[in-house]
């Protein structure tokens, strides 16, 4: 479904991704794990076209994404739920959700999708007139997920959705991602929370220093000596 072929990405002169290649298959949950600075977020930003690869290609259902401007990516059915939520703090919850459904089919079905999002997150419905900036961390993350869903995505990319949330909320968010996946949305998840994500995913890739070092199913990686030593501390 999404095919990333040997992308090299630079911040100025500094190369941060080296020849990253991976594939996301339809309806699966794929995880990119790695420590700080491994290039996970950079990979997602490149797929969203916020960064342009110096070389390599990104294809989504045989359409090249790497030459599209960032505002066209969402029309292809790819949505990015960015790190640190990146909401519009001085807009209300409802306005934030509307901003997720500006074009095409998503706009036509806006009301229906909004009801669906409110059914997933009743808390958001209670607070729909409240400024997004006044929500708690967990609620903000729910809103970020909801805003992503509003675009009726085929592929949803999550950048560290567990960041800054309490362990119980982390479980809620992961359970929710699983639920969204079961309803037919493909998931690309970036996480530092290795134990929990490997347990829930179909397949995973391990990034280190901007390079792709390992791949396998969640179970395989859980059993891998390198992963156990470096990420799980066993």
């Amino acid at each position: 479904m999404l095919r990333v072929n040997g992308i090299n990405v630079f911040y100025g002169d500094l190369q941060v991704l080296w020849d990253i290649t991976f594939e996301v298959k339809e309806k699966e949950i794929l995880v990119l794990v790695g420590s700080n600075g491994a290039g996970k977020s950079t990979t997602l930003k490149t797929i969203s076209s916020l960064l342009t690869p110096a070389s390599g290609t990104i294809e989504f259902n045989d359409i090249r994404l790497d030459h599209l401007p960032p505002n066209k990516i969402i029309e292809q059915g790819v949505v990015h739920v960015p790190e640190g939520r990146r909401l519009f703090p001085e807009m209300s919850v409802e306005e934030n959700l509307i901003m997720g459904s500006l074009y095409g089919e998503a706009k036509a079905k806006r009301n229906g999708t909004m009801d669906y999002v409110y059914s997933l997150f009743p808390r958001l419905k209670e607070r729909r007139k409240q400024m997004a900036g006044t929500l708690s961390g967990g609620e903000q993350q729910m809103l970020a997920v909801g805003r992503g869903l509003m675009s009726k995505p085929k592929l949803m990319m999550f950048d560290e959705p567990s960041l800054g949330l309490s362990p119980i909320l982390v479980q809620d968010i992961f359970g929710l991602i699983k639920k969204i996946n079961q309803e037919g949305v493909t998931i690309l998840l970036v996480e530092q929370n290795v134990t929990q994500t490997l347990a829930m995913c179909d397949r995973a890739y391990v990034l280190e220093n901007g390079r792709n070092v390992l791949e396998g199913t969640g179970k395989e990686l859980m059993a891998n000596d390198h992963v156990r030593e470096v990420y799980l501390g066993i």
Partner: protein, 321 residues
């Protein structure tokens, strides 16, 4: 809501009959200048307050508007009033160029680029003597003897500027502008063509500022580069009007224009002749103190923090608390 409408109608009627009751040319002049600053401040606020692209170069658009009117009158011999239309139009062209160059930068870098742009165009206007007459400036003959016509033209310009910005901010463009201010990357990830909407905001802003500049040419009948492209009399004043009145509020710049022009004039006239003459030199210091006060205590400006002012100064409890 009803109360607000009533208040606005009373205010409107007040300004409609003001020059018919107050015959002093001095006070009429002051209100005309205030109206002009309402236009410039509101335009600046659209770009900086709502869209988050803080401009330190609104003198570019003001000056281009003024010079368009002046050059049309002196070189082509058509009435400088055509400059009201063409001044806005040429300011938009300047805006397109500024956007093309400066929107590659974000945040403080954008602000610095517009600051540089304002200085560059001032130097161009000073040195391109065959077109602009350089430091000699442009002098035209005023169309009207009485201030009444200018008063009502400025009034209509100010009202229409506020109304257009109000309409824009209620439309979906308004939401796009605010989303760009709040988070440009997130906005573009959600499918908003951020460079297009930043440019639209800049164009509307430059159009009205250019109209204000052309009006200034017609009204004052004399311009030179040091006045209309001035960093502190135009660009910085536009920012102060916005900040003091209230950034990202519809009426903020209007209130800010009253306060700033009023303060400027109070000092210039040495508190209307009541204070010793030397105090007129202190107006820059008064501006500085006012800005410090506003930033420390009224970060959202007079309009933005109105409820806070009511609470703390008038000791009025909010009715729906």
């Amino acid at each position: 809501m009803k109360k607000n409408h009533l208040f606005m109608i009373i205010l409107g009627i007040f300004f409609l009959i003001f020059p018919l009751v107050i015959h002093s040319h001095y006070y009429q002049h002051l209100v005309i200048i205030i109206f002009m600053w309402v236009v410039i401040g509101s335009s600046w606020n659209l770009l900086a307050g709502y869209t988050g692209q803080v401009s330190f170069g609104h003198a570019i658009f003001f000056g281009v508007g003024a010079y368009t009117a002046g050059i049309f009158a002196t070189k082509l011999g058509i009435s400088a009033w055509w400059g009201m239309v063409f001044g806005g139009f040429f300011s938009m062209l300047a805006g397109l160029f500024v956007g093309w160059v400066c929107f590659r930068l974000r945040g403080p870098y954008f602000a610095l680029a517009t600051l540089a742009g304002g200085e560059i165009i001032r130097l161009i206007a000073t040195n391109w003597e065959s077109l602009t007459e350089g430091m000699v400036g442009i002098l035209i003959i005023q169309t009207f003897k009485s201030k009444l016509s200018y008063y009502y033209i400025a009034f209509v310009l100010a009202i229409s500027c506020i109304y257009v910005i109000h309409l824009i901010m209620k439309s979906k463009w308004g939401y796009y502008f605010v989303s760009i201010r709040e988070d440009e990357d997130a906005a573009s990830s959600l499918g908003i063509n951020t460079s297009l909407y930043k440019n639209i905001s800049l164009l509307v802003s430059s159009f009205f500022t250019g109209m204000a500049g052309a009006f200034y040419m017609n009204y004052m009948a004399f311009i030179d580069p040091e006045v209309v492209f001035s960093l502190h009399y135009v660009s910085i004043m536009a920012i102060l009007v916005g900040i003091v009145g209230g950034v990202a509020t519809i009426w903020g710049p209007a209130v800010g224009a009253f306060v700033m022009v009023g303060l400027q004039e109070t000092f210039r006239s040495s508190f209307f002749g009541l204070a010793p003459k030397w105090i007129s030199q202190a107006h820059a210091m008064a501006f500085g103190l006012l800005v410090i006060f506003v930033i420390m205590f009224l970060a959202n400006g007079i309009v933005g923090d109105w409820s806070k002012i009511k609470r703390n100064i008038f000791r009025i409890k909010p009715s729906n608390a």
